[in-house]
Amino acid sequence: MSQTAQIRQAARELLQGKAVECVIGYERGTDGVNARPFFAYEAAEADRLIFDQTCTHDLAKYLLNRKGKSTAIVVKPCDSRAINLLLNESQIQRDKLHIIGVVCPGVVERRWGTPGAKQLNACQVCQQHTPVVYDTLVGQPVSEPAVADPYPDVAGMEAKPADERRTFWEEQFSRCLRCYACRQACPGCYCPECFAERLDPLWVGIRIAPGENEVWNTMRAFHLAGRCIGCYQCEQVCPVNIRLSLLNRKLEKDVLGMFHFQAGMDAESPPPFSTYQKDEKLGIGE
């Protein structure tokens, strides 16, 4: 049975048996090519669900809109890490959730109207093809490939001289529209009032201009240190193609190096920035 058929069957049973009120998954979008998020509330709607290589969205973010309501959700392995992140940070309740985990061969870059030909950067270095948490598994678990360097693009950036990096980011941020699509798509960004919209006192100016854009993007990146799961949603949704994953995954890489921690691998390990150990030095004052 195809993954789509298995997801439909699971969704139908969950809705029919009233185990959940809603199943969040994917359906075909209006370009006839790409998938889009879909919320099924009736068993009859289960047949609209699909799964294929265009299912790029991380649906876990939507769980924050359904706090306290019983929900089933279709997750890829990377999205399952987002669920662990949200569980770990006490944002969602496990007992209200039914996780339909999908064994994922990787998804493609979303290109409007044409089937994406290129596998998403994240998938090219993926080491997690089976979800880390699930109730129903769709597909057969596969043995994980050994990826020598999961951050080749970040390492390439690190190797460049500082002034070159500066010029690169200045140009990238100068395009930013501050539409906040990166934040809105990010499973780690859920503050009820974002610092960028805090008006009294004003934390970041409202100007859509290089200085403010730089503050916005770098502060958001720091807020995700040790929390970014490397899902690339930020980069996928950016309307002006800013290479946000390079910035956010740089911090992911640093946290992995310093604390041997990867966000979302389980729901229990305390995140490095919520813990303190007396012997932590991090080279400060040495």
């Binding site: 979008g29 969205h57 539409c179 100007r207 859509i208 309307p239």
Partner: protein, 330 residues
């Protein structure tokens, strides 16, 4: 009468414009095509579908200072911002130029927005008609079309070895030296067709759909970013903030959108449009109901940018179809 300009002469004309005033045109920025200020004529792109963001930012900038207040001899003096210099925007697609007529309606209505009026007076709009249509284009259903000349001063249409030239306004004619032109011998190529969208009668249907559960369902998948509003050639909302520095004050406005969570928050913290469905309904009601009721035309030109750019495929064409299909409320 239509005239012809060779490609070489068009490039010299662009160079003249660039030297005389600020030239803004489509150019390649990484893998995007964007309207940018041009410093080298070679950077102008002549063949493209459309730019990733609309050209509205050259008339309604993303961020703009409205005025300064300075303290002088114990008194406060208000210094309004002025727009210096002229701009030529080259390469506007007809839908985007039609979008400028939409910005005109609220911003030039009495009392006019002084900065917008200055931008408008000091900008020459030069169009490039469309020879192909994207699948997501629906300009013809929204009162525009691939050869629409609304708001344009000059329109170019690509033909073999050059362009047909149509100087539409006095401003356009004064900028187009006859020496660069010759009588047109080529016939105008046929305009492409765009896929129809049911826009007829949509305003009345939107009124009927106001209270339905539909908006909540669509809003389920909306992530409430501002992409649709910021790529849109007609959205015109902004936020205002004062910046103070040692006794001087600068008042700044920046783009803002009805989809952002705090947009309608009022003093005391109440938000009358707090839920997702209400915000979603606001976007489409403004475009298809309130704006036409207030100003006449539908507030969409069918450029298709929001359709392409929306991260979760909220598609205004589909919304119009759905609303048209809805029955009268019980």
């Amino acid at each position: 009468m239509r005239q012809f300009i060779s490609k070489q002469n068009l490039i010299s004309w662009l160079r003249q414009q660039m030297e005389a005033r600020q030239l803004v045109a489509p150019t390649q920025v990484d893998d995007l095509i964007l309207f940018r200020r041009i410093d080298r004529v070679d950077d102008v792109i002549l063949q493209f579908q459309n730019t990733a963001t609309s050209p509205k930012e050259w008339l309604f900038p993303k961020t703009e200072t409205l005025f300064h207040v300075e303290r002088k001899d114990g008194k406060a003096e208000l210094i309004p911002a002025e727009i210096d210099g002229e701009t030529v925007i080259f390469g506007l697609r007809p839908c985007d130029a039609r979008g400028i007529t939409m910005l005109d309606l609220p911003y030039l209505a009495d009392p006019a927005d002084t900065l917008y009026r200055q931008h408008r007076q000091k900008t020459v709009l030069v169009g490039l008609s469309c020879l192909t249509a994207c699948p997501e284009c629906f300009c013809e259903s929204m009162g525009s079309g691939p050869e629409d000349t609304a708001a344009l001063d000059i329109m170019f249409t690509e033909v073999r070895d050059g362009y047909l030239v149509q100087a539409i306004t006095e401003k356009g004619r004064s900028l187009m030296p006859q020496a660069l032109l010759s009588p047109a011998e080529t016939v105008k190529p046929p305009a492409p067709e765009t896929a129809p969208v049911p826009s007829e009668g949509i305003t009345a249907k939107m009124r009927q759909a106001f209270d339905g559960p539909y908006w909540g369902r669509v809003a389920d998948r909306c992530i409430h970013c501002n992409v649709c509003a910021y790529v849109c050639p007609t959205c015109y909302c902004f936020d205002v903030r004062d910046y103070t520095n040692k006794g001087s004050v600068e008042r700044v406005r920046s783009w803002e959108s009805c989809q952002s969570p705090g947009f309608t928050k009022i003093a005391g913290g109440h938000d009358p449009r707090a839920n997702k469905g209400a915000r979603m309904r606001q976007r489409f009601s403004h475009k298809l109901l309130y704006f036409p009721e207030q100003f006449g035309p539908l507030h969409c030109v069918g450029c298709g940018r929001c359709v392409r750019a929306c991260p979760v495929n909220i598609d205004i064409r589909e919304i119009m179809q759905d609303v048209q299909r809805m029955g009268a409320p019980k």
